[in-house]
């Protein structure tokens, strides 16, 4: 699926024209795109990889920004390239399609898909002709996928996740600007060594700390606790921060393939949350459980009893908080109960880290170290 536009541009253009969208992308034509430099040899080589998402979706009309996708043809990577000729001015792009097959509904990606993409990203990272990668993704779980890649891919090169809140056909769609900015970030020398990044709405975030915080607003992605690393502003891509926690080149999990990972589930805590959901997880063979605790990280009495039963069977339990902010701390009570504090990771990200940790060890002290460092 890897296609170089340098050699196949005319064929791709023809293909793109044949696959004319139901509704053209609403990109204003009142101002022309800026001229593309004649000599593109100095431009960085960026791979634009599609894992689909709203940014790769069409709606029936341009006011449809909620009920898009199914029933309308998908937006192929070539369509982005055609709609946004400005991309040619900032990078030599190679398009790559890593979407799930068309007949599978959105959100049906499995670990197989992530393992395949991680492997491919590692190959691209090792390729001296590649300077950076942009990955499009549906916004609902993109932070999880990005976090997995930040732990599993060993590279200094920028890997930038991007999506959109409105379909490619939506009026005032955010996709084109997001895509353009993501390519700029991936092409930026300053983005090297900062781990897997996320760029939407002109903010540059880390994969570890970013979260989708609103269902439909375009400013949905925010840092949990800690904020953005920088901005993709009109004058320049600018960084104010770098992450301190381990990632990519300093990740002990990077550089390996994980065809499968130990089973880890998340249990939500709320008033009267029962024991039986946790018992059922254990009966189904989980190796780890992440509790999304109340407040500073608490489970109900019933859950606590089930946690003890689970631990007796060797299941590792990590405590996170449903507060969407703040750290679950290492307390004497938690040490006594053999519960690993999840720091400030969201439960769904603590799950990914626990899966990778359990692929190496089941020792509690070692897993606690991992949650301290990543």
């Amino acid at each position: 699926m890897n296609r170089s536009l340098g050699t196949k541009w005319p064929a791709l253009l023809a293909a793109a024209l044949l696959a004319q969208p139901v509704v053209a992308q609403e990109i204003p034509k009142y101002a022309p795109p800026p001229a593309v430099p004649a000599d593109k040899s100095a431009l960085p080589n960026i791979v634009l990889m599609s894992m689909g998402g709203t940014i790769a979706s069409r709606g029936g009309d341009r006011l449809n920004i909620t009920n898009y996708g199914r029933g309308f043809p998908r937006v192929n990577p070539e369509d982005w390239y055609q709609d946004l000729p400005e991309l040619q001015g900032i990078a030599n792009l190679t398009l790559e399609d890593q979407r799930a097959p068309e007949n599978r509904p959105s959100g049906s990606e499995t670990h197989e898909d992530f393992a395949r993409v991680a492997k491919r990203l590692s190959e691209l990272a090792a390729d001296p002709r590649v300077d950076g990668v942009v990955v499009t993704h549906g916004t609902n779980t993109m932070a999880e996928t990005a976090y997995y890649m930040s732990l599993a891919v060993n590279t200094d090169k920028p890997i930038v996740f991007v999506g959109s809140q409105r379909p490619w056909t939506g009026l005032s769609g955010d996709g084109p600007r997001n895509l353009y900015d993501a390519v700029r970030v991936a092409a930026s020398k300053q983005a090297w060594g900062k781990g897997v990044l996320h760029c939407m709405n002109q903010f540059i975030h880390t994969a570890r700390d970013v979260d989708k915080t609103s269902a439909y607003r375009v400013d949905t992605f925010r840092g949990v606790d800690v904020g953005a690393l920088g901005f993709a502003d009109p004058d320049k891509v600018v960084f104010y921060r770098e992450p301190v926690r381990r990632h990519t080149t300093t990740s002990e999990f990077a550089g390996h393939d994980y065809p499968s990972l130990p089973k880890v589930e998340v249990a939500f805590a709320y008033r009267d949350a029962p024991a039986y959901l946790i018992d059922a997880m254990v009966a189904n063979g989980v190796k780890g459980i992440v509790i999304e605790g109340t407040g500073a990280g608490s489970a109900t009495t019933g859950q606590t009893e089930a946690i003890k039963r689970a631990q007796e069977k060797g299941v590792v339990v990590v405590m996170t908080a449903r507060t969407q902010g703040g750290r679950v701390q290492d307390t004497p009570r938690r040490r006594e109960a053999n519960i690993v504090p999840g720091d400030n990771l969201l439960p769904e990200k603590a799950r990914i880290l626990l899966q990778l940790a359990l692929s190496k060890t089941t020792e509690l002290a070692e897993i606690k170290r991992i949650f301290d460092e990543y």
Binding site: G227, A228, Y240, V244
Partner: protein, 345 residues
């Protein structure tokens, strides 16, 4: 039996004292500087949260109030002033910076803590971020509630500030602001609320980490130049160039700019600004920096601004752009060179 018992007690006491003395010796040294502020203010009664000018807390009282500090650091105190932050001057700031540089040069001192009123705390913190030449942590701390108030925040803020100042993880992070358990970068943090305890916020960029009960933890490292990597040196300075700030609003004109220039300002920070008044000022050698009154986001460098010879402030708010411009003007009046500084600090 009683004799034996008392022998045992005396012996135990001696061991304890030796242990304490020993612990005292091995504790990290923290140089504390007090300037005043709400953290050193007394109210007439303990429900007074806003009218608290009924007395000042001395540095000694501050330490006696918090004996827990003795378990984590050897704190030595220097009083710079005991005023509200509205009265802070560049004279005092220069005195403070020189005193911090001198203390941090001592090998037994691992970090510094500065108490400050919260109103202009971020200005002093950013100034120190540019002129302290050390990788050792410098932590600026204050309180939103006076020393005498019920549920006052000062003691825990001060305790956490000293913890952060002794943390090896805080080295090289630049000057830090610690209130409300949060560790913030001096450059990016601003007071966002008049009375709430979560007032210090780095909009867009967020805190660097937390001073939590289990540990001092960092998630971010600032990238703009500061402290040990700063080119600004105040060791030989006794004054700073005058720089003023204009506030822009509908129908605001050039009167304020002309007045500042007339009063001898070497630089003016704009949040809008009358183009003709700017030209008149530039003709007299005054340097203008474009900031913004919104409190978040960058002023981007545009062709138009470059042609006007106006420096852009990046995402510094006007009061912090003023501090960088003052220090920049101690070295140069070239707008291009000053623009480089605004791009780097």
């Amino acid at each position: 039996m009683r004799l034996c018992h008392s022998f045992a007690s005396v012996f135990a006491l001696c061991v304890l004292q030796v242990a304490l003395a020993h612990a005292h010796v091995s504790l990290p040294g923290v140089a504390m500087f007090t300037t005043g502020g709400t953290i050193q203010s007394k109210g007439a009664d303990r429900q007074k949260l806003m009218e608290y000018n009924s007395g000042r807390v001395t540095p000694r009282e501050l330490l006696e109030d918090l004996p827990e500090l003795k378990q984590i650091a050897n704190v030595t105190v220097t009083e710079i002033s005991n005023i509200g932050s509205g009265g802070m001057t560049s004279d005092l700031e220069l005195k403070l910076a020189k005193a911090i540089n001198a203390e941090l040069a001592k090998p037994e001192v691992v970090g510094a803590v500065v108490t400050h009123g919260t109103g202009t705390l971020e200005e002093t913190a950013y100034f120190l971020n540019l002129v302290v030449h050390s990788d050792k942590p410098v932590v600026v701390v204050g309180a939103m509630r006076p020393f005498t108030a019920v549920s006052r925040d000062g003691p825990f803020n001060l305790y956490n500030a000293v913890r952060v100042a002794t943390s090896p993880r805080a080295r090289g992070m630049g000057v830090l602001i610690v209130l409300n358990d949060e560790i913030n970068a001096a450059r990016d943090t601003t007071k966002t609320n008049t009375y709430r305890m979560e007032t210090f916020v780095a909009r867009d960029l967020g805190p660097l980490g937390y001073a939590d009960s289990d540990r001092v933890v960092f998630y971010r490292r600032p990238l703009y130049r500061h402290t040990a990597k700063s080119e600004f040196d105040v060791s030989a300075l006794t004054a700073l160039p005058r720089v003023d700030v204009t506030y822009a609003y509908q129908e605001s004109d050039g009167i304020a700019i002309d007045a500042f220039v007339g009063a001898g300002a070497k630089g003016v920070v704009l949040t809008g600004g009358d183009a003709d008044a700017v030209k008149r000022g530039q003709a007299k050698g005054v340097v203008f920096v474009q900031s913004d009154r919104k409190g978040a986001g960058r002023v981007v460098t545009s062709q138009r601004q470059l042609e006007r010879g106006v420096v852009t402030a990046d995402n510094l708010p006007p009061h912090k752009a003023r501090i960088l411009l003052r220090l920049a003007l101690t070295k140069t009046t070239d707008p291009l060179e000053i623009q480089r500084m605004f791009n780097e600090y």
